[in-house]
Symmetry: D2
Subunit: 454 residues, 4 copies
């Protein structure tokens, strides 16, 4: 068995702690065969220093962590780059998510699509241009793993800025749908709950609006079982009794009613949380008012609750700096397994976001799409996702087109082009003049990120 002794990982962002701590855990629990160093870079330098101290305090950590002063120092010679930044602050996120409510537009997440996702992209794309340029300069051969939203537009920006980049985007939303399929097997057939990895699915779509058109477990087709499951639960909703997050906070609750409604209508499974799926559908379907959202059994995540989450993590950080031991936890993320696979230590097939080279022939070449991919010894190759259900394709195309316009508009400093996409967003169910007002207000809240556009 091979052993890689000097793996170099650069971690960009992570000052908001959650993802960085997850990586620390995963590298220890699942990083067999790898040791080396992790360079931390965050515009909040103190946050990076704190993470450095927390990580290096963990006994028998096979990686040495170092906070770096510049992105260049962090990237220099990296084998892997992990990007997990918060673009801007919660103040801008407040504007993204809650600004549109004055116009009757409610967004359960607001970081991927909809007015919030589009304006977040306007703010984030210039940052990704800089990151891609730095990668080209300091570590052009590194594998780059992006976790930042809006995922598709971030990955697209990386490739348009540095076309030879070896980047992909990771997202765990599909995993949740695999878990739901596993539960449907238990609920409808009384079979023991299988691990989600053994639920084999074909994945097609764009990030957070990914679809499953084929699912099986040990050769058994799961679609007829999920059909019965939906027929039973689509009106009441279904709550996974083991899902902690659901009970912890009403804003994250989910009864899978959107997913079941879409399945009964289209015959394919929306493979993301209902909060995400609803944002890609015409605005009046599942959103439109807090009452309608409640009727569909999911919550609107407020930025206030995100601020609280951060406070909890900051307190925890202080406790750990004061000596509380770091707790190793399974995150369920696959970043570390992906790194091992790229080093040739295992093989892995999982869903990722990559430019379309033919894996989804219904969508434009070059467009960033989500499908399964094979990870193996320095290769990542998308698996062919095949044809998409025609009317689901119609829903996907609308946002895929909009996202291309947002990225091209930003890169060409053409905000009118961005507005063309904004006014065609499924959630922007208001007259054009009002949409323009909203767009201008939201951009005004992001003025400090605007030098890029002038």
């Amino acid at each position: 068995m091979n052993h890689f002794k000097s793996v170099k990982i650069a971690y960009i962002g992570g000052g908001s702690r959650g993802w960085a701590w997850g990586l620390m855990s995963d590298l220890i629990l699942h990083g067999e065969g790898m040791e080396g160093q992790v360079s931390l870079y965050d515009i909040d330098r103190q946050a990076a220093l704190n993470n450095q101290q927390i990580a290096n305090n963990i006994p028998e950590n096979p990686f040495r962590y170092t906070a770096r002063d510049t992105i260049g120092e962090a990237l220099e010679g990296a084998d892997f780059v992990v990007i997990s930044i918060l673009p801007g602050t919660f103040d801008e996120m407040e504007s993204d998510v809650h600004g549109p409510e004055a116009y009757g537009i409610y967004q359960p997440v607001g970081d991927t699509t909809g007015p919030g996702g589009i304006v977040r992209a306007v703010r984030t794309i210039p940052m990704f241009v800089e990151i891609a340029q730095a990668i080209e300069k300091y570590c052009p051969e590194a594998w780059v793993i992006n976790y930042t939203n809006p995922m598709s537009m971030c990955v697209d920006t990386l490739y348009r800025t540095f076309p030879k980049i070896k980047a992909f985007g990771c997202c765990h939303e599909v995993f949740g749908t695999q878990k739901l399929l596993a539960r449907s097997l238990l609920e409808m057939e009384g079979e023991p709950l299988p691990p989600r990895e053994e639920i084999k699915v074909n994945v097609q779509g764009i990030n957070h609006f990914t679809w499953i058109d084929q699912a099986s477990f040990h050769g058994k087709d799961l679609f007829p079982i999920f059909q019965k499951f939906c027929e039973k639960y689509h009106e009441t909703g279904y709550i996974d009794p083991t899902d902690q997050k659901h009970w912890a906070n009403g804003e994250y609750k989910k009864k899978e009613m959107v997913k079941m409604d879409l399945f009964l209508r289209y015959g394919v499974i929306g493979a993301a949380g209902d909060r995400h799926l609803s944002e890609f559908c015409p605005g009046q379907w599942y959103l439109g008012s807090p009452e309608n959202v409640a009727r569909w059994g999911f919550g609107l995540t407020s930025v206030a609750s995100r601020r609280e989450g951060l406070q909890r993590r900051l307190e925890k950080s202080r406790r750990m700096l004061a000596g509380e031991p770091f707790e190793l936890k399974q995150t369920g993320e696959e970043g570390v397994r992906q790194m091992r696979a790229l080093l040739g230590l295992e093989d892995l097939v999982t869903n990722v976001n990559l430019p379309n080279i033919g894996q989804l022939p219904d969508l434009p070449l070059g467009c960033v799409v989500e499908t399964n991919a094979v990870f193996t010894s320095n290769h990542v190759r998308p698996v062919c996702g095949g044809k998409i259900q025609p009317q689901v394709l119609a829903l996907i195309q609308r946002t895929a087109c909009n996202q291309i316009s947002v990225v091209e508009g930003c890169l060409n400093r053409d905000l009118n082009r961005v507005f063309q996409a904004f006014s065609n967003d499924p959630l922007v169910t208001i007259p054009v003049a009002q949409a323009r007002n909203l767009f201008d207000q939201m951009l005004a809240h992001n003025s400090k990120y605007h030098q890029f556009y002038i």
Copy 2:
């Protein structure tokens, strides 16, 4: 100069008179080099007989008209087939156009897209299946000219039923935009008004949502001129002082405000009447309420006014049968010129609806699209329309996808598939459950056309 002495034309439909009389006129005024016979077939046999009498009463008519009892007799041996039917009656049209108003959905035309256009397609597609089968049986080599709406879906049905059919769809909406460009030249540059045929345009899109991305007159680029024109008139609207139809009836009025708004936002020209263009845009943009429609300077054509129009034509028919002479009029249509071109008597480049064989590489192959085409000696070949403005493409794709689903849904007797398109229509800005109610009600009004689906 060649002369064709026994041209056989089959005219399907036309009982509602307007288009049939137009063809009679055009054949006399513009049919140089052609003579022969016209077979009339209409499910209203008396209407066909009346038209036979009216036509044969015209002195020196180079064509002999005969009403036929069956579609087979009409088609047998035809060189050209003209299809211009009214699918169903004004009662169904009443349901198509005004039914959705109870849900806040206002349609200025309702025969192409929107709830009205989709349900009209459900009614019409079985008729076009029958017509295509009859053409395959009786005159497989004939050229088939369709005027019936919903144009794209009718032409698509012809090709899917009989793939070797030589059919195309004709529409004069682009001509109106050429006239507007001619007027902008007069208004902004003081140049004499050119004939619309000399305004050369590139055409791309789908019927009634066609776009012009290049226009010139004698080598002069008309886009900067139209830009100034729109900047001057976009708030007040522009009324062509020579347009009779506008003044005759408020329901047909048009101030071109939608067209100018779209041009200022997208930089390309919507080449159809505002009443049509508005139906393809998100519902809240130009429609949504009678007040909003009024603000954008166009009218909602009621079925009542269509009934009145028919009454006027019936009275005229009675007068002509009683001896009033038939009045020859320029229709501005190009059907007769197309026939002459197909016989090799002239060459012609004009816009038509044909399955996509590559003329619009952004839209799916096979999808019925509208571009220019070259008509010449037994050939019709589309002209490459090129790339479409990306966000205009996003608007077009949405309805193009929906139309494919409607046709495939109808041909496969899968009304759920049709509803998938219906619920994604830009005008259907209501929750899915309400949309389903509306759909079911509208279908119930068409129950007599339903045997096809059972």
Copy 3:
């Protein structure tokens, strides 16, 4: 760990023993988790009965073997179908391989492309039409594994006859190239010889003319190493000292000189034996005369030696029927691992032949191509192979086009279309009139398979 107790496998062909015995071995050695029955069907019924007896004599065989009288009985209820037929007899193969020599056309294999491969296809395609129809009738849900050549055209025929078939074609030629890459690591870097499965490659092309544009071992790029290897050995050739087959028979010898020459010219690796690669290149490159073949270090496999091989197998069959124990051997084939993966017992990524659904965007959709694919729980999904080196693509396209014409020509009973491909074959470097003579002679030798074409 799951266990499947009643797996049903239908084996079509196999009377010539080699492949059938291999499957028996592999099912015992690698079929963990599977037991059940194998139905044998061969037009040589005695051969099937012999194989039944040989298999059932093996102690502790988890599968029960039964020779069946009809293909329908063999297929009924099958989970897996293995097709491994010899189309026709060695007499027709004699004509395929050696007939063209009178025209100066030498073929080292003659079963895939070239005059021999094309005429073999003419003989084989009608058989595959029948097999596909039987599968549709008796076991439409079965997974179908084809080993018969001409591979691409056989698989294409299966899909064109029964489009919903779940078939793929397997070939081990890529494995040999993985082994050569492993040896280059040993030879040039002194590293221990890795197992071929750990040499990770990207595969693109058509069967027997497959190419590798990316290869690595534990994250290490193997192309610079193979470059040095080729520079060292391209003039002398390289013989794998462990390769038994090479020494056994001069007709199978291989010095990899074609592969190295192609790599030095194109920068990508031809992933099949030199005997195959040479048949896809312009005829004068590596073939053209026995002397030229000798110069490039490989052999022309005569049909005489194939006849001898069969005699050896028949004798061995007699000995085993008389009691000689069956010897379990590693075949290196992956058929049984593929079955296990399709049952959900393991995951597997390997190269297979499938219709192009976008995995190779440079080749026509629908064309049967060879790339990697993911095998997992009732799914086989091709992995995107990406862009092909442009001039290698030019070489591939030529035969890919020809193969489409041969299949369409045969299915439409249009032998002129087949001859169009024949005369454009890279090996047919003779005037058209001579090519027609050769074609007609070769077809005459196959007259008993011709009823299909009349």
Copy 4:
């Protein structure tokens, strides 16, 4: 009727007189509605001055001719640019055409494809890079008409260097096939000979290997007539009794036997002279030896005869400079009609060479292809050529791929890439090592054009 009084035409090249005098004639005979100035630029400055004098001596010439010292002066402000250069001298052409004969490779023209065409491209592409850069600098809005061979690669170079160039390539080879179709009507049906413009054809392919899949005259399908014509004449050949060129010089003779053979085999018509068509087919079909060429009834044009032709034109030039009156002649070329159409003075549909934007969906996007196009008021739009006969496509693809490699190889200074195409050329029926020798020798004869590649 409009009149353009200051049309500016830049003529690049033309020192070898034939094409330049043709343009002078055509501008006078067919340039109705146009007057202005023609700027002449040739690296042989005296030739340009001579042409200036000859043109300005023509009485009532509506254009004023001026020889310019630099290409920039010639292009400045041009409305139209005509490119008609001789790349290099007859010495290099001697090497192109006759060099390969030592290897048994005979080329009847050697300026488009084959070893001669490829090496000519190596010499010409750098010149076209310079011309495109000058056009971008001095007259980016001008329409550019190229007559220089190798046509496809020249036009491709223009677009790759200056992507917004408004360029197209013109060739009259299709006209000859229209004439042959007209003659078949006369010969087989006894009809009066129609003018070639009234033979309407669909055109698809690449320059000099263009194909007609549909032809008609006044609505009558010409294919059955041409079929009978070929059946009658394919063995003896057919000589147009009115064709002067044929009799003038055996090296240009043509009996249409290649064209008829291809038609009988493929069912579509090769729309170029046999001398050109034969160069795109596998080398042993129609070439291979002077005897085979003679058998197929066409000639090998020697460079010696081209030198003689130039001498005749030089003498004629001297006589005209000395006062012999300029003789106006119909050239049959359409350059001047194209200019008139682009000015909006007429409409024109004719065949031209343009990058593929979808007009030929079987060939790669961007690849320079030949189809019909509509010329009208500042637009040139290709007409959709449709699907190509599959095995004809296979023949076309081979050279289309090679030409892309030659252009990309030259622009990237990668002569190995050019050799990859060279060794795959249909006429290069020799082993690779010999092909490399030939390639190197031919390049050595072009060393003075090589600075570009170092």
